[in-house]
């Protein structure tokens, strides 16, 4: 499978490297004053005011069923995306550099990848000594497959 070389915003969730096409990212911001939404899906971290827009923050760790962040949300980084005219922010552990990745390094999601990861992965890039999972943002914002199956 070949893929055009393209810029990726990289970030870290629970010690794993992820990336998403830079063109899908609206902005990257730091969380401040998060308003929790009662009775919402557990992976919804809350709402915040980003320059006059209301952004719904989704906790990537909770979405993937991982242990919650130890240090809470204050100061956490989020990847801002727009979907259907609505603003979302994916709360991640750390935001890294923007990398230009070559299609040659790209591979289909390997079957060996954990099922939770596989669901949200578009494929992987083999970097030097590290794997980078290309994250499917749409899938991330949808309810987890396990939850919708109930």
């Amino acid at each position: 499978m070949s893929k055009q070389a393209c810029d990726y915003v990289t970030f870290e969730i629970a010690g794993r490297m992820f990336g998403t096409d830079v063109s899908t990212v609206h902005d990257v911001f730091r969380l401040e004053a998060l308003t929790p939404v009662p009775l919402a899906r557990p992976d919804v971290a809350g709402l915040l005011n980003l320059r006059g827009r209301i952004v719904t923050a989704v906790d990537a760790r909770r979405r993937l069923g991982l242990a919650p962040r130890e240090q809470g949300y204050a100061g956490a980084m989020a990847i801002g995306v727009e979907r259907g005219g609505e603003s979302y922010g994916l709360v991640v552990d750390r935001v890294g550099d923007v990398l230009r990745l070559d299609g040659e390094q790209f591979e289909e999601t390997p079957a060996s990848l954990d099922e939770g990861w596989r669901e949200v992965s578009r494929g992987i890039f083999r970097l030097k000594g590290e794997l980078l999972v290309e994250l499917d943002m749409d899938r991330m914002l949808d309810a987890p497959a396990a939850a919708t199956a109930v």
């Binding site: 004053a33 308003t35 929790p36 939404v37 009662p38 009775l39 919402a40 899906r41 919804v44 809350g46 709402l47 915040l48 005011n49 006059g52 209301i54 719904t56 989704v58 259907g84 609505e86 603003s87 979302y88 914002l141 949808d142 309810a143």
Partner: protein, 891 residues
Amino acid sequence: MDDLLSEFLTETTENLEIVDIELVRFEADPSDQATLNNIFRLVHTVKGTCGFLGLPRLEGVAHAGETLLGKFRDHAIEVTPDLVTLTLRCVDRIKEIVAGLGETGVEPDGDDSALLADLHAAAEGKAAAPVAPPQPLRPARVGPNGERWDEDLQRFLRPGEVSLADLETAFRTTQRGADEAPAPRLPAGREAVKQAATAPAPFAAKARPEPDDEEAHGPRDPASQTIRVSVDVLENLMTMVSELVLTRNSLLQMVRTLNDSEFKTPLQRLSNITAELQDRVMKTRMQPVGGAWRKLPRIIRDICRDVGKKIELKLEGEAVELDRQVLELIKDPLTHMVRNSADHGIESPATRIMAGKPETGTIHLSARHEGGHIIIEIADDGAGLNTTRIRDKAVEKGLLTAAEAAALSDAQIHRFIFAPGFSTAAAVTNLSGRGVGMDVVKTNIEVIGGAIELHSVEGQGTTFRIQIPLTLAIVSALILGARGQRFAAPQTSVVELVRVGEGAEHKIDEINRLKVLRLRERLLPLIDLGEVLKLAPGLEGERAVHTVVVMQVGAARFGLVVDDVHDTEEIVVKPLASLLRGTPALSGATILGDGAVVVILDPNGLAATLGAARVEAAKAAHAPALLAQTGAEEKSLVLFLAGDGEKAAPMELVTRLEDVPCEKIERADGRAVLQYRGALMTILHPNGLHALAREGSQPLLVFAQDDFAFGLAVDRIVDVVRERVTFDLTADRPGLLGVSVIRGKATEVIDVSYYLAQAQAEWGDRRARRAVKGRLLLVDQSAFARNMLSPLLTAAGYQIEAVASVEDAWALNKRGDAFDAIMTDLDSDRQSAADFARRLSQDPLWGEAARVAFSGEAREAENFAEVVRKSDRAGLLAALDYALKTRRNAA
């Protein structure tokens, strides 16, 4: 699509809607020339324009229609309902073609020959009939292709052109439409228009009033006064204004903290301008509600024709404006409801005459402003809702048991028509009654923060009252705090705020685990915001003082328990992101002036958490008590359902109200027992043990005394009320004290002592074997007091004899009955009580008995050892114990 064509389509669609209305009006009054002229002009415009745009099919149909209308106008043929129907068919065909054009941009294929033939036949056939056409005022000049001569222009009209005279007529009739709005008008001008309208001349416009009526001049060139703007542009504008309002709010907040800031004055101006801008932009979104009604006359007419009914549709307040977004959302529900009224509500003429009503039914649709809301009412004078049928249907659908159904009032039963999939229509007509209806209507209305109520009297008609907000975009909100988090609640739902808890006038009671607030003798169900939203407890812990926000949604009223009330603020409602939609009790989010995001509470969603039954109970509690008899004592009573109908028990006797899981109740050889607080407790049911709940939970009234307790199982605990109890009917079966009117309804008051005896018998007479503490005589003329105290004292280990009067007491004395204590009421007749006591003290048989008196107030009384309050159970028992002990010691 071509701009010209799309504009033509928009305009034609609007015109056709008017034609529909006008035709129905014209049918009702064929002499109304102004209406006819208006119809003629509209159809003529369609015809003219489509010739110009090259739409042959449309032109053909419109032309044939116009020809027929022309004959009407010239009185060449008589107007009959059949001909009007034919004209409407023609209009429908035009609509069809226009719709096809809108989709594809070209005329759809189709065969109009049958319709055209009918139209021509009608125009030709009747034209030959010997109806003498009245002479026109002047001979009409006709051009080579049938064009009309126009006197004002002094030339033949071009295709598609409308004569000035016709235009004048059109303006006049358009004003007639607006005439029904409560706008102030010149009565003289109106008279003149009416005269013009009824004038027999074909060119009615010639009889117009002097052109001093400036309105006739105003809209002469409507094109230069208005422009068409796409809705999207307005929506964007509105969003931006909303943002501006928010920015202004945060600026205001910042400057508020500064003293003597130079920003203050310019900011004040900015604030005013923003407010005005907001107002103006809102106005551009406002549309008269009449727009949602346009289709209705035609719908009613068609129903009348199809099912042979006679219905008059009265419209009132068409000019009342509301946000187009709201208008769009209520259009379908309204149409549905009017259709329902016509189809199910209004009876057939024969039925109506038999019922002594006028043959023609009326549906009255009205709109008006009322305190930040629009109220729309749909009232018909039809048959009303069939309460019995709805009740049966509700039971059949398993929405409630027959017993529950029997206990509900008519109004409560009527609300079941809003239940999903509920339809009682005996016959499913092609119009309505397919079971998708009122629940959808209700949901649609509630989605926009509205509410719907209904009032129906069998045989007299039904009225639906819809309350909807003026706009959805900006609302005034109350900012509340619960467990450290802030929330916004729409101000329109808030009725009042009440402080509760330590040091406050009001406090929260609990009935059957439902928190309630007694507010001005009404029982208000409460919702704890923190609990219902499952908020994590705040750092400060449980508060001693809370605020209850009393909210009203439709007829339902409830209290929302919050920690703080911060402020009121104008907020711009933003919808929740799609992944948060469907979150119960939340309707959106907003950014406050300080920049914080808060979620907006949905009062309807909150009310839903209470459960319909509880809201109903609260509503019933609002009903004024019909009984206001003086003299009778006011009592606290527990109302409950058990078997047939509502029953009551004196609250004083009830120790606790419980709700236990069914499986906890154990049954053994015809008895039911419950492990309760470390002991076994006998469970009884007024209708026998077979009536115990089989699944879910079982509500219990627990009566406990010392170490003996029994539970009376009931179907449902309804309420606790304070009422004057007067037995209008005395008991005719065991277990019943009598029937009293409670909350305006005949209610059976149960005899607790009867059940106590039964429980004790079942308990192996454990009580009876215990030594009797003493024999008591109770003299009280109130049957209620006798019946209340007997079980209490029996349970406490006394043997009791209760009599109604002093005479009855002396009769016992003659018989030689001895007592350890004698109790009497002091308040009902103080003199006779004092006499009784004096006589007792001198009596050889009863002189030694301890004398205890009851009184509403604490005081001393001569010749009585103790004075206690009747409701002070512990005090009474202590007084008896003490009195008997001292007596024994003395002896």
